[in-house]
């Protein structure tokens, strides 16, 4: 059973003006689709790996055959990261989190604004391609991290609660070299309901 590209949960223009229509088309239909295709190609001769979810694959990198390990890492990572990315955004999003997650952010970072600033800083500092994350680490506390390329926090035993894609393909058509501007604008399309749900899941997952 081959992996399927998860459909975008809203229209291509739904995140305008913060993320432009053409970027969404290319990002989902070309970039994300390529990760799924490359993953399916890599595991086409490995029946035992075909039954694994992408989450399972990025958690078990050490035990996948060495000749396809980098391909799995990059493409299962690319799939799981992007599927989350589309879900944690929505049209007319933004604002601030509520409930348990809001309390945990305040407890860890002091204020929501401090959290946001540290998250953006980590996104600016990621040199080259990668992601910036809010994770639940293996001590069970919230932490801002960043990974290179398509590496998933799941591979380190961290649960990704939310993450922003800082590959240039995520913002180049609209923001060009201005990654900080993109990172700031992104908070306007955040789907806190979905992120709250992921936070609740992280509490039961570890």
């Amino acid at each position: 059973m081959a992996h399927q590209l998860a459909p975008l949960p809203y229209s291509y223009d739904a995140l305008e003006p913060f993320i432009d229509t053409q970027t969404m088309q290319l990002h989902h239909d070309k970039h994300h689709a390529a990760y799924v295709n490359n993953l399916n190609g890599a595991i086409s001769n490995y029946a035992d790996l075909q039954s694994k979810s992408v989450e399972e694959l990025v958690k078990m990198l050490d035990s996948v055959p060495e000749d396809i390990r980098a391909t799995i890492r990059n493409n299962a990572g690319g799939d799981v990261n992007h599927t989350m990315f589309w879900q944690i955004m929505k049209p007319n999003g933004g604002g601030e989190p509520a409930g348990d997650l809001a309390r945990e952010i305040d407890r860890t970072f002091g204020t929501f604004d401090t959290f946001k600033q540290q998250f953006n800083d980590a996104g600016v500092k990621r040199f080259g391609s990668g992601w910036v994350w809010l994770v639940k680490n293996n001590q069970g506390t919230l932490q801002i991290t960043s990974t290179a390329n398509q590496d998933s926090p799941l591979s380190e035993g961290y649960y990704p609660i939310m993450g922003n894609d800082v590959w240039e393909h995520a913002y180049y058509l609209k923001y060009q070299n201005r990654r900080p501007e993109y990172l700031n604008a992104w908070w306007n399309v955040i789907n806190w309901d979905e992120i709250n749900r992921r936070f609740a899941k992280s509490q039961s997952a570890t």
Partner: protein, 199 residues
């Protein structure tokens, strides 16, 4: 003695008939390359590196965990200055002369070299560079992530292609293979490569 950004060796619209818009150079030369120069100068200001040649800043900071920012910015300054010289309106195709002989000797044929270079550029996952290098007398194709370059690895750089997404997103969007083909068929400045080989 700050590091400086050399001028672009052609008009920013010179490559428009060959697949690369002036807008690409407005950003790539005017913003990305310029930012690496500014960042580097800020990082080395009032340090002993300030008076060192760029090449020495690169080799001395490579793999030094306290100088990651210096290495990244210094190498990116050098890589981009080198890259602009690798581009020429109406270049590309197979080289001639001694360079052609060396490529045939070490790769089998120009087509084999082309295939290897294209594969390296296409498979550098994430941001990075593809290179033709002289490695102790043998020509080789290598790829490097992010800012890494042949200098850091003790090889002589002969030719490079920037495969960070910013290098091709305005002109080719996600289609990196088209950008690579366009470079190899219409842009490679073989005179510069021959000059590097002879140097």
């Amino acid at each position: 003695m700050a590091v400086t950004q050399p001028p672009l060796p052609f008009a920013k619209d010179a490559l428009e008939p060959y697949g690369m818009k002036a807008e690409t150079f407005d950003y790539h030369y005017g913003k990305h390359h310029a930012a690496y120069v500014t960042n580097l100068n800020n990082l080395i200001k009032d340090t002993e590196l300030d008076s060192k040649p760029l090449e020495e800043i690169i080799t001395s900071s490579f793999k030094d965990s306290s100088k990651v920012g210096v290495f990244n910015n210094a190498a990116q300054v050098w890589n981009h200055s080198f890259f602009w010289n690798c581009l020429k309106a109406g270049g590309g195709g197979a080289p001639t002369g001694e360079l052609a002989e060396r490529i045939t000797k070490d790769f089998g044929s120009y087509d084999k070299f082309r295939e290897e270079f294209k594969a390296a550029a296409a498979t550098q996952f994430g941001s990075g560079w593809a290179w033709l290098v002289d490695d102790g007398g043998t020509l080789k194709v290598v790829k490097t992530p992010n800012a890494e370059n042949p200098l850091a690895h003790g090889q002589k750089a002969l030719l490079t292609l920037d495969v960070w997404e910013h290098a091709y997103y305005i002109d080719f969007k996600n289609a990196r293979p088209s950008f690579i083909d366009n470079f190899l068929d219409k842009l490679v400045n073989w005179d510069f490569v021959a000059h590097n080989l002879a140097a």
